[in-house]
């Protein structure tokens, strides 16, 4: 018997959320080259040497995670998921991960010379917490067995943990300084990545929940135990990473809170209950996420099936704060 090859048929959406996720993913498409990172050079010079080092290290760490996600995580999960439309969304997400990974280099190239950049990439290779978490996640991705929903489920959980939880020890710092009007173009890149990762977390989280629902009660119990055990293992490692990176600028305590808050959100993405106590997150970081600059049209949308916000027109006043920030950062 010959195998029959099927073409992806978008005329028949395979479920009630797939088009929404395709549209959102494609509408959010962006390129690092659209963001004028050179504007950040002026505020870069106002950072202390310790601050510069933290900034570069967290971007180095983020590059490693995005590389793993784009080269291994998304493609491996896509390979084992059966539905053609789901595969399509996953592969689009893989491509965005590559854009994320490259965008950190765009920032590096703007603010640092080659030898400093090389040092950071060397640091990434030697930093034990970074290496450990990447290995744990990579092992789970490479352990997916053909036609085995449980190992696929584990990979989906690992993917959501990577994108909705492990990134945040790194995101903290660029958001924290852009919340103070420094490095705002780089902050813009981070916010675009944040928004992409949020959509990825929803999608892969939904796929994980579908598999979970198909498991027997015993298997569900096993899955739940895996989730919380793995979460705690990763959290212990994040604590060590956070101390290593942030102790020199006294932000460790704040970063750990942000990491726990995001671990809870990652759990919600896979339909599980939060694990850590609720805590307030650093208001400067929230400010960094909320700040909009004119460096990138945040409201721009591409592709069909998606309308520009029509309910509330933007007024000039809405941009007052933004203009101020851009002015400050280019003075």
């Amino acid at each position: 018997m010959n195998k029959v090859y099927e073409a992806v048929n978008w005329d028949r959406p395979s479920n009630d959320y797939i088009e929404m996720l395709w549209n959102q993913n494609t509408s959010q498409f962006w390129l690092d080259t659209e963001i004028p990172v050179s504007k950040d050079l002026k505020t870069w010079d106002t950072l202390s040497d310790e601050e510069k080092l933290v900034f570069m290290r967290v971007l180095g760490g983020l590059t490693l995670l995005d590389t793993e996600q784009g080269n291994v995580g998304m493609p491996m999960i896509a390979m084992h998921v059966k539905d053609q439309q789901k595969k399509a969304v996953l592969i689009f997400q893989a491509a965005m991960e590559e854009i994320h990974a490259k965008s950190y280099s765009t920032i590096f190239t703007t603010v640092a010379d080659q030898s400093k950049i090389d040092n950071i990439f060397q640091w990434v290779k030697e930093e034990p917490h970074l290496q450990k978490k990447t290995k744990w996640i990579d092992d789970i991705y490479k352990n997916i067995q053909p036609n085995d929903d449980y190992s696929l489920y584990q990979a989906m959980v690992a993917s959501v943990f990577l994108e909705s939880f492990l990134f945040y020890s790194g995101f903290f710092y660029p958001l924290y300084i852009s919340g103070q009007g420094k490095m705002v173009a780089s902050g813009e890149i981070i916010k675009l990545i944040l928004r992409d990762e949020s959509v990825h977390g929803v999608f892969v989280g939904l796929l994980a929940q579908e598999l979970y629902q198909s498991f027997s009660p015993e298997k569900q119990q096993e899955a739940k135990e895996f989730v919380y055990t793995f979460l705690n293992t990763l959290y212990e490692n994040e604590v060590g990473y956070t101390e290593t990176v942030y102790d020199s600028i006294n932000l460790t305590h704040e970063v750990k809170k942000y990491v726990r808050y995001n671990a809870n959100k990652a759990l919600m993405n896979i339909g599980m209950e939060p694990h850590f106590e609720e805590e307030d997150i650093n208001p400067v970081v929230l400010n960094g996420i909320r700040t909009e600059t004119s460096t990138h049209d945040f409201f721009s949308t591409k592709g069909k099936g998606y309308q520009k916000g029509k309910v509330e027109p933007l007024r000039d006043e809405d941009f007052a704060f933004v203009n101020e920030l851009v002015e400050q950062s280019s003075n």
Partner: protein, 127 residues
């Protein structure tokens, strides 16, 4: 007070499942004949879901308040569906929360609904 909700990826649904209130999920056939509070998610870039828009076009008469789920990673568009509906229909925004909400979110939401219930009751008496 009846709580009517919309949920696409399950978060609002899970938030609602933890609440001891009378509740109904939005469908195309749902028509309201009593006061209610709406819980919606936020979609697109700060948008009200289409299913919620068309539900409200038919059922704005008894709308008394709105709560919205979202994700703060959307920046200024966080939970904006709630703000938009509150402004458009002149109702209070009861609460905004992230994803499926925390215990505190559930408490704050219930408190907000209670306050609306009380003010509805007072309005009825004044009439």
């Amino acid at each position: 007070m009846m709580v009517v909700y919309a949920s696409k990826t399950g978060n609002v649904e899970r938030f609602m499942s933890k609440l001891p209130v009378r509740k109904m999920k939005i469908t195309n056939e749902l028509f309201m004949h009593e006061p209610f509070v709406l819980v919606t998610y936020t979609t697109g870039f700060g948008q009200v879901p289409t299913e919620v828009q068309s539900f409200l076009e038919r059922n704005d008469r008894y709308l008394r308040g709105v709560a919205a789920s979202g994700n703060q990673n959307w920046g200024t568009s966080y939970g904006k569906a709630g703000d938009t509906i509150a402004a458009q229909y002149q109702v209070p925004i009861v609460h905004k929360f992230e994803l499926s909400g925390t215990k505190q979110d559930a408490e704050k939401f219930l408190l907000g609904v209670e306050q609306i219930e009380q003010s509805c009751f007072q309005m009825d008496r004044a009439q």
